[in-house]
Symmetry: C2
Subunit: 645 residues, 2 copies
């Protein structure tokens, strides 16, 4: 059911990942992350909450967004079972799914908080209270569970809930013309439509997206109904916070809470794809320019401010105070991936890859047990220690944590990584596109028959990718290979013969249309140089600085390799930098080594301030991939180092 979409992602079940980079990551998620998250969900009462046993006066009441945490775990566990059977995990999943099913109310409503804690407040504060957001995550979980198990137990729950929601919300007389302050239901309903073929879910998604930001403003009316002044101050300050400041087609800059924005934009891309709505696609393109061109860290992190976890203004990308929530980078992957299906352009794939390998992957420790909620690009560890000592608190988070009271990120990264395979490939009737070079094998069914493609590569450490195409029968179709934006001079051999890429390349994909037969071999060479990246000068935080990038990976300097006070370092324009694979470092990474200069306190002869020029001494430096930082002893970290390109 691709609707007007150009492409459909190859399903997770049809992609096997056998990849030296990803295999240990995914194994850690399966073995450690999913198990520990389940324990956290249990220990914090989130699973128990679904039993609806809480009664007024008891401690630990179910929180308004707890259901979403559990639902994201269900989604992640389901994906994991698609690629890796696991009886223990399946048993836990069954238990939780049963709890969700049992918690559903006779009218279809399903929310642990508003069923037992504040039942009288159901649907009275869509602006702040995440009810439809939680519903959306239950729906996504149901679709994934159905995909994974074939069981429709949770899917039926989701459909009943969605059907109930459609009796409450809409433009018809007697319904609330509302929508959720935290978007999610919209994209979830599109997924439910795709899973069930039921057009009404797509229509409801479209209603939620189209209604958003219209006047008279629903959140105004709703506030008045609660006896509140809609003009009174609230934590979001104004409706930009939840992207309801304007109808979505009139929005031109990415505003407000970054995760909410991403989930809305995902639904807009989905609806543009499903309905062919050109005005929605145009809005997506404008918002894409706003995010990727003016409001995104080099790591793919977005939402630079902790205040409101939000987008701020163009080029406001401070490094030490960067918020760059893991969930927001995940949302950016979701959105880029959806846009790729509507219009396959390298700009989407490049950002998707940038966010995935950097700002998303930094959110989880190498062993899968600990998480970053915020992903700064600079850490002063001494400042952290001093602040803890002086104030007992610090906004600096130099190490990953096992869990959060607001626990959105851990299960979110789990559901992305367990479904990673589905981000790599897309197919249309007569074509296959590869977006991410993951080692392994993919199976697709085209109009002309089945095709499988085996991929071998040491990506992202080396740029050589070997693709062996095996159609079941000789088959005429187009294979589109992404030529990553980070690569200056890609080369391609088809069955040993050099391909002239330029005439075949459109929007960053090289399209090979031919009769394919078993044994056809593509050898893609993507030379990976160490690049000194420079930011547009309006990003004043990065002026006079460079960030190292090699292939899709952004690098950083850590105290463990370079000592403290990384701001003393400078990388002159002529400093040689060499990349080498170090198998025993951080699970095996390509590190970048070279010689920098350090502004040397030992050579200082003045007081605190004096007229002498700084004395710089040469020092060896080592940079590691940003995703791998904070996996050794805690210390300073820096992405943008003083220096020249």
């Amino acid at each position: 059911m691709p609707g007007n979409r150009v492409l459909t992602p190859i399903a997770l079940a049809d992609v096997q990942i056998e990849d030296r980079f990803w295999a240990p990551r995914l194994e850690a998620v399966r073995r450690v992350t999913l198990a520990e998250e389940y324990e956290q969900l249990r220990e914090t009462g989130r699973i128990e909450a679904l039993r609806l046993n809480w009664r007024p006066g008891q401690p630990n009441p179910p929180h308004i967004f707890w259901d979403s945490d559990v639902a994201k775990w269900v989604e992640a566990a389901s994906y994991s079972l698609i690629t890796q059977p696991d009886a223990q995990l399946a048993a836990k999943l069954d238990e939780v799914v049963d709890l969700f099913a049992a918690a559903q109310q006779p009218d279809g409503y399903l929310n642990s908080h508003f069923t037992v804690v504040e039942p009288e407040k159901r649907w009275t504060n869509l602006r702040d209270w995440h009810e439809l957001y939680c519903a959306g995550h239950i729906i996504e979980a149901a679709v994934a569970h159905h995909q994974a198990t074939g069981s429709d137990k949770l899917l039926r729950v989701a459909c009943r809930y969605a059907d109930y929601i459609s009796t409450v919300f809409g433009r018809e007389l007697g319904k609330k013309r509302g929508y959720c302050g935290h978007e999610e239901i919209e994209l979830a309903l599109v997924r439910l439509y795709r899973a069930t073929g039921e057009r009404r879910y797509l229509d409801l998604a479209r209603y939620f997206v189209d209604e958003r930001g219209r006047q008279p403003h629903y959140f105004d009316q709703e506030a008045r109904a609660r006896g509140e002044d809609p003009a009174g101050d609230w934590h979001g300050h104004d409706y930009r916070y939840n992207q309801s400041h304007l109808p979505v087609r009139e929005q031109t800059s990415a505003e407000g809470h970054a995760v909410r924005a991403m989930y809305l934009y995902c639904a807009m891309a989905d609806l543009a794809g499903e309905t062919g709505d050109a005005s929605l696609l145009e809005a997506c393109r404008r918002l894409w320019q706003s995010v990727s061109g003016r409001r995104m860290y080099i790591t793919g992190g977005i939402g630079s401010s902790a205040r409101g976890e939000r987008f701020t203004w163009d080029y406001d990308l401070p490094n030490a105070s960067a918020y760059a929530e893991t969930c927001a980078a995940i949302g950016l992957v979701f959105w880029a991936h959806r846009l790729l299906q509507v219009e396959p352009k390298a700009e989407y794939a490049d950002v998707m890859e940038r966010a995935l390998y950097n700002g998303v992957l930094s959110g989880i420790s190498l062993d899968g047990s600990r998480f970053f909620y915020v992903n700064p690009l600079e850490v002063d560890y001494q400042a952290y220690l001093h602040e803890m000592d002086l104030y007992g608190t610090s906004s600096i988070v130099p190490q990953r944590q096992g869990w959060f009271s607001c626990a959105c990120c851990p299960p979110n990264i789990a559901r992305l990584l367990t479904s990673l395979g589905s981000y790599a490939w897309s197919a249309g009737d007569d074509r296959i596109l590869v977006h991410l070079y993951l080692g392994g094998r993919m199976h697709a069914s085209l109009a002309g028959g089945k095709v499988s493609i085996a991929v071998e590569s040491r990506y992202p450490w080396e740029g050589r990718v070997r693709l062996e195409v095996t159609p079941e029968v000789r088959n005429h179709f187009t294979l589109g290979l992404r030529l990553p934006g980070w690569c200056r001079r890609p080369e391609l051999l088809l069955n040993g013969r050099q391909v002239d890429l330029a005439p075949l390349t459109r929007d960053g994909y090289c399209y090979l249309e031919r009769d394919w037969q078993a044994g056809d071999l593509l050898e893609l060479e993507l030379p990976m140089a160490v690049e000194r990246m420079v930011a547009y000068p309006e990003v004043t935080a990065d002026v006079g600085r460079v960030a190292l990038q090699r292939g899709p990976l952004v690098y950083c300097f850590e105290q463990a390799d370079n000592g403290p006070r990384l701001q003393q370092l400078r990388l002159p324009g002529d400093a040689g930098l060499a990349a080498a694979y170090e198998p025993s470092l951080l699970g095996g990474v390509v590190a970048i080594e070279g010689q920098a200069l350090r502004n040397d306190p030992a050579a200082w002869h003045g007081g605190l301030y004096c007229r002498q020029p700084a004395t710089e001494v040469p020092v060896p430096v080592r940079a590691i991939p940003y995703y791998a930082w904070a996996n050794r002893e805690p210390g300073d970290m820096l992405v943008w180092i003083r220096g020249e390109a």
Copy 2:
């Protein structure tokens, strides 16, 4: 009554300032600041509060530190009357002094808040409630009022209050072994001792200083008496906040609230001077190294963090978030000035001058009507506008304000500037020292007779200072001239003959011992070069940056001269810089002009991040004295500019 002090400041009444730099500043304070502050004190209810008419249930109850704001105004107004008669001001002063006198309780207690709002809580929370702090400011006001008017009306009030306080606090049985969480009473009692000759006030000051930080800790006991857990969290977090973490002689680093620290250290210096207590002087020297060597901005601003308005840790001197409260820089002037009387060393005078001409003077607008509470070294004005738009609040303060709910700074800067003359000169039996080169005339009485010295200079714009010495009779004494630390090669002519400075110079003062006679002429030449100052490399905020300084003045770049986004500017090591007096700029300043490079967005051809080196284009730049910033249209400001020395 100089006690063991080496020197005594020449009294304000004996110094006439006729100075092209200071005259308009002091005139603005007299004509505008004192009048507007009186209006603010009246309009906000602070003066009315002294009538003790407030009753429970009424709005606007007297706040615990309101009395101190009024008292500081009394002090400032008194100083102003010493140098400039003003009948209107004298009438207002009389009114306020009468109110203070009438508000004194039969037992001597005097505090508008604790008399009418919470009388049952008198002396129950010294840690947090500023009672003795307010008492100290009333005492300082009384001493100044007595000096100015000869009336002992307020001085008698102060003595009665101090005598009452000595019945409450002390080591004797039945007294509280307490001291104030906000120091001030200690230095005030030393002043009261000096004004009255009553040794008991010095002893009480010494008690408060000596008792501080001893175990068992008074604030612990006091908290328990209130039924609170002393280990529970409070806004200061721990006793470093109010410098009671250790007995004062064991303190080695400047900790906690910067204003409180300065006021304590003032009292320590005073007591060391009065009593010859070597251990107190040693503690002062250690703390001085901590402040001036490791925890002070180049502007003389101290207390780098808004959290707790406090000292943080060595070399933590961020520029944009610098707190650097005006009152703290004022306190640093107070402390340096007191240490100078105990041991005349240029390091104290250099810092006193640095703070005065930069971090203090920046606290008041050129017209005397508006004030900075915080004094950052970098302002991103666009960020301010965006934050106001997004959140309705911003921690960035790009412009001075007319008043503050916590109004300590405006009257504090008024009392410093109205008493400026007393900071310039000191005298001993047989010597006179000049610390600050203020144009005008000074009269001193030495053992050998009276001496007056006339000073002509265009300091701080030009480094030539002409001093004409006029003893009443031929007189053998020593004249010590400060050779400022900022000056590389000072030169001196005595009656037209070059003086060889080196053999005469000790601790930054050139001592000329001779028989002086009328008409003796000193011509001091202090060449003022534009200096590119560099910070010790552990100040990571300033690495790769320079600050311009000329004479005692630190410079800054403002958007009004240089356009926005000052971080795009770089001052290469070979950029020529020229200083020129501009009479129509900011009331007449020496501006520094030159050519810098700007990282040019217009020359950019990539996206948000790309591999191209930055394109720098030459641009003219102009720097103005830091004290004068924010007196034109609001905009960006920067002290530490990227560049090389």
